[in-house]
């Protein structure tokens, strides 16, 4: 099992991450990736100049590592790569990238899906949309909570 978990203030390139992840494969047949990009508009349509992600000391990275460890314990994946930005992120830029690899595709899909649901709701970040008409803090949506609940409902 190989797990790379990274918190970075610098921008990163999802395709470069996928290239490195793919180069690290050791015979796996399936790779799933997810990239979350900052959007230029809030849910209500207001323009967003930057998404600002606040983190807290070692706790944020530790929360990401714990989530990644849980994914490896729960799904039959052989390697994972998780990178999450903090600081100010402009529209279009990548916020989070997750990649998973497994022998067969179901485990890779489920693990990536699970990682994202837990990162959205349990990773230690506080998220704020800054726009011309002020700032607004964003908490997990009901859809995020419902997505998370899928994993406690069905213990595979």
């Amino acid at each position: 099992m190989t797990s790379h978990v990274e918190l970075t203030e610098a921008g990163f390139d999802p395709a470069a991450r996928l290239a490195a992840f793919t180069a690290s494969l050791d015979g796996e047949g399936a790779v799933v990736s997810f990239t979350g990009h900052a959007r230029g508009a809030a849910k209500d349509g207001r323009p967003v100049a930057a998404l600002v992600l606040e983190s807290y000391r070692g706790v944020t990275l530790a929360s990401m590592q714990s989530i990644a460890a849980d994914a490896h314990a729960r799904f039959n994946i052989t390697r994972s790569h998780v990178v999450h930005r903090c600081g100010a992120i402009r529209p279009g830029e990548a916020i989070v990238f997750v990649a998973t690899a497994s022998a067969h595709r179901r485990a890779a899909f489920e693990a990536a899906d699970y990682l994202m649901d837990r990162l959205k709701t349990e990773a230690v970040f506080w998220k704020r949309e800054d726009g011309p008409d002020g700032s607004r803090w964003i908490e997990p949506t009901e859809a995020d909570q419902a997505d998370l609940a899928r994993w406690t409902a069905k213990q595979d």
Binding site: L53, V96, L119, W126, W137
Partner: protein, 86 residues
């Protein structure tokens, strides 16, 4: 009764009302997290509303702790509103 000053970090939207750090007098024997939140709301009424909603977690020395945990002088304390990554 002897007391020391505890510096508390406020994360996320908690920092909006009175900045990222606030000070609170703490008895030498310490205070459970729940009592610390109440005391903080008394000293900084502008925080009371946010603190009272029951959704604030305390992080002591880089570990998120339950409300019964006693915070002691010298602890590194931060208050976390609901988190959201991604």
């Amino acid at each position: 009764m002897a007391s020391t000053t505890l510096r508390i970090e406020l994360c996320g939207r908690l920092a909006e009302a009175c900045g990222r750090e606030v000070d609170l007098d703490l008895p030498e024997a310490g205070l459970p997290v729940a009592a610390l939140l109440t005391a903080l709301g008394d000293v900084y009424p502008v925080l009371g509303d946010a603190l009272g909603r029951g959704r604030i977690r305390a992080c002591v020395n880089e570990t998120i702790v339950p409300p019964a945990t006693v915070v002691r002088p010298g602890d590194q304390v931060a208050l976390f509103p609901p988190v959201s990554g991604g």
